[in-house]
């Protein structure tokens, strides 16, 4: 094992973390952008290496400063972590080249370096959450990513971005606090913060009131971060008013990493407790997931701003992931995990398409989409393909996710849930169609149908994600293999 492959896990966190302050030193918009882009690229390469390494050699444990297990902080990377790191790094590497023009249009020049600095910090925090094997360290990285994302959102050019960011800050802090409270109780009962260590010591105390309450606190803490219905209220405003590139990045990564953390808590930390059965919470979680799927989709149907529409759709899509986690058999879990990846691709692509529209038109209101099929044919086509993926049309990634989720529900014999998954997809047809209809079948108010496509530098990254959403929908061998391995690793913890 070379130095690089041994330290890749740490490097993936440290590189963006250390690089972030340099953006502040650079100050210059262009330089900061080039620096951040290079770092995102390097991190992406590292994350690919990490994933390959894990796929070949199995779980990797890295001890910080050589301090062992339960005392020192360890990084614990298995297939799920590596996949999530790869998602975050890949999305960052695609969004950064796109961000330059988009940020120039939406944010005053003197603040650009802040965006790139915060972007790198947020990325470091998200990757840190995915690799860490220490429950308190998870909180630290959660705060790193959250605080930087509050700043990123507040930089949006709409005045409402500030209030949206403030609300998110309050709720996000509430979530983090909930997590720390729960963790404190767990620490009180077990005396450990190391995840593997907790997994062995928790079953002894699993029936105490303290651990019950602790479990509720940590789950709700992350429920807030991943926007589980009805804890989603911060999300629509935050995504709507944040700068386009930021929305694309956060929508594709932040909730996914929170879903990952929840997976980790349920299947590793509480793995041997089997909390859904022991605490009788499976029903509540499934109910919340289903509610989220329907409420999110229905709310999306009635939105008049497309970014907001997509934000509500994210709440519905998170519902699918939580549903996969809550059903809890290998296939459903695989569906939930693969949907993390798939949804990152399609939602990232869709928000980037909206960023292109905002760049050219200065608005993402539904009424301003009229005639986009003629004026910005490439952007509109990207939106249509992404929309297909969101609906779950075969040959797109959405189909793969839903295929596994439905199979997972059927394996348990839960027909009604399988039907609800299908039915919720039909709702997605409606909200996607509303946009497509306006783009292709309505004439703009000023009747201007002249060709006015977004710059190629923004279109290419958009199409990279949209293309990936189609590619991994036609050939899901790789992604399904990774997520199946990941699901089995997670379930291996809870016998």
């Amino acid at each position: 094992m070379t130095f690089l492959s041994l330290n890749m896990s740490v490097l993936a966190v440290i590189v963006p973390l250390m690089a972030a302050p340099i953006c502040v030193l650079l100050r210059h918009s262009g330089l900061a952008w080039a620096w951040a882009t290079a770092i995102a690229g390097i991190t992406f390469v590292l994350s690919i290496g990490l994933l390959q390494h894990i796929m070949a050699n199995g779980t990797l444990v890295y001890e910080m400063g050589g301090w062992d297990g339960p005392w020192g902080i360890v990084y614990h990377i298995d297939e799920v972590s590596a996949l999530v790191v790869m998602i975050v790094a890949a999305i960052a590497a695609v969004v950064m080249p796109y961000a330059k023009l988009s940020i120039e249009r939406e944010i005053p020049k003197e603040r650009h370096y802040l965006v790139y600095c915060m972007f790198l910090l947020c990325m470091a925090g998200l990757i840190g959450m995915a690799v860490t094997g220490d429950a308190f360290n998870l909180f630290v990285f959660l705060e790193v990513s959250s605080l930087s994302s509050y700043v990123l959102i507040s930089l949006g050019n709409d005045r409402r971005a500030l209030t949206a960011s403030l609300r998110y800050l309050i709720i996000g802090t509430l979530g983090a606090t909930f997590y720390v409270i729960g963790l404190g109780m767990i620490y009180m009962m077990t005396g450990s913060l190391n995840m593997t260590d907790l997994a062995t010591s928790l079953p002894e105390v699993q029936d105490t009131q303290t651990i019950h309450v602790a479990f509720a606190f940590v789950i709700i803490g992350f429920g807030l971060k991943l926007a589980l219905f009805p804890l989603h209220i911060w999300l629509p405003n935050a995504y709507t008013y944040a700068p386009s590139a930021v929305t694309a990045f956060l929508a594709a990564t932040a909730t996914k990493v929170a879903v990952y953390a929840m997976l980790r808590l349920i299947y590793t930390v509480f793995g041997d407790v089997n909390p859904f059965e022991t605490y009788g919470l499976r029903g509540v979680m499934i109910a919340l997931a289903l509610l989220g799927m329907f409420a999110g989709s229905l709310l999306a149907i009635f939105q008049t701003n497309v970014k907001r529409l997509l934000a509500y759709s994210s709440i519905a899509q998170v519902g699918y992931m939580v549903l996969g986690i809550s059903i809890g058999n290998a296939i459903a879990l695989e569906g939930g995990i693969i949907h993390m990846f798939n949804h990152a691709l399609m939602k990232g692509g869709l928000f980037m398409a909206m960023g292109c529209v905002f760049y050219m038109v200065g608005s993402t209101d539904l009424k301003d989409m009229a005639g986009m099929g003629k004026r910005m044919p490439l952007t509109a086509a990207a939106f249509v393909i992404g929309g297909f993926a969101l609906v779950g049309t075969p040959l797109t990634v959405g189909f793969i996710s839903k295929f596994y989720l439905v199979q997972g529900a059927l394996a348990e014999g839960w027909w009604p849930i399988a039907f609800m998954i299908m039915f919720a997809s039909l709702l997605a047809v409606i909200y996607v169609w509303r946009v497509v209809e306006v783009m292709y079948f309505q004439k703009p108010a000023d009747g201007d149908l002249s060709y006015n496509e977004a710059p190629i530098a923004m279109l290419i990254p958009t199409y990279v994600l949209i293309g990936a959403a189609v590619y991994f929908g036609t050939d899901a061998t790789l992604t399904s293999e990774i997520s199946l391995n990941a699901a089995q690793t997670l379930l291996g913890g809870s016998k």
């Binding site: 209030t163 403030l166 609300r167 309050i170 709720i171 509430l174 979530g175 909930f178 019950h212 309450v213 479990f215 509720a216 606190f217 789950i219 709700i220 429920g223 807030l224 009805p230 804890l231 209220i233 911060w234 629509p236 405003n237 605490y279 009788g280 919470l281 029903g283 509540v284 409420a295 229905l298 709310l299 149907i301 009635f302 939105q303 008049t304 509500y312 049309t393 075969p394 040959l395 793969i400 295929f403 439905v406 199979q407 059927l410 394996a411 027909w415 399988a418 039907f419 299908m422 039915f423 997809s425 039909l426 047809v429 079948f441 050939d475 899901a476 061998t477 399904s480």
Partner: protein
Amino acid sequence: MSSFNPGLILIIGALPVALLPHALRRVYLLVLPLIGLFVVHNLTPGTVVTYETLGLTLELLRVDRLAMVWGYIFNIAAFLAMLFAFHERDTMQQVSALIYAGAAIAAVFAGDLVTLFVYWELTAISSVFLIWAARTERAYKTGMRYLLIQVGSGVILLAGVLLWYNDTGSIQFGHIGIETLAGKLILIAFGIKCAFPLLHNWLQDAYPEATVTGTVVLSAFTTKLAVYALARGYAGTEMLIYIGATMTAFPIFYAVIENDLRRVLAYSLNNQLGFMVVGIGIGTELSLNGTASHAFSHILYKALLFMSMGAVLYRTGTCKGSELGGLYKSMPFTTGFCIIGAASISAFPLFSGFVSKSMILLAVAEDHRWFVWGTLLFASAGVFHHSGIKIPYFAFFAHDSGHRVKEAPWNMLLAMAISSFLCIFIGVYPQMLFDILPYPVVFEPYTSAHVINQLQLLLFSALAFTVLMLYKIYPPELKSTNLDSDWIYRKFMPCVMQFAGKWIVRFDRGVRSETLKVLDDIIALIEGQHGTKSMMSRSMHAGTMALIVLSVLLVFLVMMMI
């Protein structure tokens, strides 16, 4: 020998259409289906091309004799439709028609249910553009309804397929049967596309709203694809005999009172599907041959009739029976072709409908189902009445409406001429059709019993039409007519038909309006809760959000304590 699905020729071939210059494009559009026909002709039954993915074996191409029949006729229909639309400059229609036809062909050659599902949905999505192409508000709304129902059929199909896979561990598309829940769901999905009674509304709703050329394309593929799927999966399912018999009979009541002639044709399309479904339900070799050949000839004569009405609509701008009439003077060729189509659908001897319909009727008789046989006879008479006589009569004869228009364009006439030729050719020389049928044919259409039986039926039906016409014109005189045994067809039958028709129409209308009302209420309710001004989508105070978080915590804790 090709190893790819012949439907892909049209689907992939459709992609560059928009880039071609107009003159080249028109020729290109005509050549594609011919290539498709050639490729289908060179397929060897028994060929299977598989592809492994996600642990499933997809049969991207499966050739057998059943699929071949549909492969032939779909390509012929695509060619005729393209010829009919030769003058058309609307790229959207051309591309979607090609993809639609290609998807239908590809679905026929799909050997597994997942591939079938993909093409099944593709036919739905591509075909709706033919309705929207009319570019009216009405067409747009109709299209949306059509799309919802068609995609809904696909979703039900997918649900059924997943269940089927779960039950059997295979996705191969063979005999399914209605014993399992999966089988029932898939049957419903097929039934929607096949316009089973009570699942049929989309057909009469959508087809008459499409463009002149769009309706011709639409009439050929969707429903016949469903017939194919039924024949493959549900041959010999007794329930289908009764469903089919109902389908043949009930549209007649509507067709008689309908004024829009394209809608009359849509009803008679529904009625003709009934014959095919009955054939599938009986499930003998003879009846399945009958279904296949009826689908074959039906596509031709129904397209011919829709073409003739399309030509009328194209020239006069209307398709309402009450606004037309006397057109035979200005459109003599169209009149002639329409009469050939009418004769075929009415199953006059020497026309295509006669050959195929007799086959189904004989199969029903051999199965000793006299009641069904009687229903089919009644339906045959009804078809003759509304498609055979009413359509040509109101459009081209009757009172002179004063329209003085040009004859249809040459390409329309040529398309109609080829269809007419095929209709007569099959009627006179059916061996050609028999040779491609799925099973060996031991059937002689022109026995004296068949011919006399059919002619009797047709002539009495013609008499009934005359009587009804008179009845409308001279009601007081008819009432005082001395009636004896002819009372049955002069008085009783029209009365029963009118009465039954009125009630069926009223019932159906009631069901539909109630359903729509309930739907509207639900939408209003959802909008109230989820609309932009509703509680759910307003931005909330941070305190309220915290309160919600606490309530969720409470729910969690309570659930854990129980």
